[in-house]
């Protein structure tokens, strides 16, 4: 319903032109959301500055989609406060919707409308000027001009994602919220996709993108890792890795991958996982870890200490959480 009363005003007075590079595009604190007994998002807070690409990671059911929906105004937070693009996240969702592009996790364009009709619909609901031109430009950008009359529902999964992105960016949003935009997209298209995201960011677009791909996490300026509705790690990839305090060794050579089973559960080894023929072993206590792998540090295996990857850190975080939960249950 059209809210009566004064038109929503940005909390910050500044106009787009003179907003500095450190302007906080997203600035929220203490967001909570429950579905019945399930506390899906707990005390979520994040600050994202203009032009940054922030990756949103976490296991299935972590609360990523729920959080994005709250930021966009599709779900009403139970509590919390803050601003998105300077608008109150609780009250001004209509203003936020006008300026933010949101790409849903599940394909949500009209499958029984053609590619062009979907784009035209989007252009109209946003009351864009030069609609025909913009739709044409989007079609050209997608390389779908020749297939413009094809029904959106008949596109392959990857193309659906690209069309959805084109629709989400059609109205020239200042902030993009992308929910697993590259799920089911081939590597080549994913690379193009990310190049494009970086291009947009370079021109001042802010992006919050959820993903399950580690390589994509590494292409983000910063990441937030959430699990069970709680933010467990936050910062650039390097910061997250450093903060984990993790030490990682790789073992290469015949049979290295089979060692994982033996090492798991040994004191000091918090994670042992084969990646192809290479075994990753990590732990926070360097002395204990080295002691644990000492018996296996002989030829034909070649051991080397490496910097932990994000994946190592995330698996670590999950294990910590599970251990803490088990402890809490035991107590």
């Amino acid at each position: 319903m059209a809210a009566p009363g004064p038109a929503p005003r940005r909390v910050e007075k500044a106009e787009p032109s003179d907003r500095g590079a450190h302007e906080k595009v997203i600035d929220v604190r203490g967001l909570n959301k429950s579905f019945g007994a399930l506390h899906a998002v707990k005390d979520f807070g994040i600050v994202v500055e203009r032009g940054r690409i922030c990756g949103f990671l976490g296991p299935n059911g972590a609360g990523k989609t729920t959080t994005l929906r709250m930021l966009f105004g599709l779900l009403r937070p139970d509590s919390g406060e803050g601003t998105v693009l300077g608008f109150d996240v609780l009250k001004d969702s209509r203003e936020i919707k006008r300026r933010v592009g949101y790409m849903t996790q599940r394909f949500s364009l009209y499958e029984d409308l053609s590619i062009e009709q979907n784009l035209t619909f989007t252009a109209r609901v946003h009351e864009l000027d030069r609609r025909r031109e913009r739709v044409q430009a989007a079609l050209d950008g997608l390389g779908l001009t020749a297939r413009r009359a094809q029904l959106a529902g008949t596109l392959s999964g990857g193309w659906k994602q690209r069309l959805a992105l084109a629709a989400a960016t059609l109205h020239g949003p200042e902030l993009l919220l992308l929910d697993e935009p590259t799920a089911g997209v081939d590597p080549e298209a994913r690379r193009t996709f990310w190049d494009e995201i970086h291009g947009l960011a370079a021109r001042g677009m802010t992006v919050l993108v959820s993903t399950h791909y580690m390589d994509e996490a590494e292409r983000c300026h910063e990441i937030a890792y959430i699990a069970g509705g709680r933010t467990l790690a936050r910062g650039t990839a390097d910061e997250v890795i450093d903060a984990s305090g993790l030490v990682t060794f790789h073992a290469e050579g015949p049979g290295a991958d089979r060692l994982a089973r033996e090492l798991r559960g040994t004191p000091g080894v918090e994670m042992a996982a084969p990646f192809g023929t290479v075994l990753h072993v990590s732990g926070r206590d360097r002395a204990a870890l080295e002691a644990a792998i000492a018996p296996y540090r002989k030829s034909p295996l070649v051991w080397s200490e490496t910097r932990p990857t994000l994946e190592d850190v995330f698996i670590q975080l999950i294990h910590d959480r599970e251990a803490a939960k088990a402890k809490a249950e035991a107590a």
């Binding site: 319903m1 929906r69 599709l74 779900l75 949101y102 849903t104 029984d112 409308l113 035209t120 629709a167």
Partner: protein, 375 residues
Amino acid sequence: MISLTRTWAVMAKEFVQLTRDRLTYAMILAMPIVQLLLFGYAINDDPRNLPTAVLVQDQGGFSRSVLTALDNSGYFEVTRVARSTAELDRALERGEAQFAVIIPADFTRRVVRGEGAQILVEADASDPSATSGAVAALLQLPQQALARELAGPLATRASGPPPFEVVVHRRYNPEAITAYNIVPGLLGVILSMTLVMMTSLGMARERERGTMESLLATPVLPIEVMVGKLTPYVLVGLVQAVLILVLARVLFAAPMSGGWLALGAGLMLFIVGSLALGFLISTLAKTQLQAMQMSVFYMLPSILLSGFMFPFRGMPDWAQWLGLAIPVTHVLRVVRGSVLKGVGLENAGPSLLALLLFVLVVGTLAMLRYRTTLD
């Protein structure tokens, strides 16, 4: 601020989706035609040789002539000769006979003496279409049945007032709805069937297909969604209404006696009201199946309590009150009034007001129910 562009966006989308669905498209046109033919002819049909039970208490010769005349009319076929009124009643009740004819004991004597002779006919009028032709034939009976007998000394009886009277009792359906009466009812029922059901699926379909999320992700206002989604169906409703009225005229020679303004206003309000109700249902239903169930829940009273199936005045008070809350009741009155009697705006006033009230109340409820979030 309501935006025309955004409303048009939704409208254009609905149009495309509507035409994309060929089956729905076909249903919109096929339903009124098929239903009207089905019901109209079932009703307009002039059934003959209807099973008739007779109870002859008269010993005179004239009763035989009356029975022969009944038989000759083609409408009646004596299938049972009863020996008591109880047996006659049972035959009617069980539907074994459509008519029960009683020729009282002193029939012949009264005819001869000109003492106001009567024969009594009870008609099972629960299906009025089945009996109307036969009842009309009964009215001719007194003139013809005894034409031959009333010659010679009784010739004076033949020229004067009819020699006897046929008393017809309609059982089960005293109002005897005629074929014309069925057209307005059918119009109301077919329109609500298409319009309420089709729009009630609307929001539920968006929710089921997941498109609700991107619809809500746009800045469209609830009222824009509603107007945009419903407008194409206003057209659908008008096409159906015109189709039904034209068919009623062409096939059944319905009188169409004027009152076009009242008819137009009534139909328009009814269409918009039905659509608003469909939209309200669609905001309540989580799935298309639920929407379907709710529409059916609404359809039954529309058919049963509106005066379409059973005469309105024959219903108990509480049912009449319930009936008054149903738009079909009012559109039925408006259409009946204008098509059959040529009633103008002022006489259709109460019904039109009722329809307007329905539009406003249901439309407001639908707007209040519409959620702009996924919660």
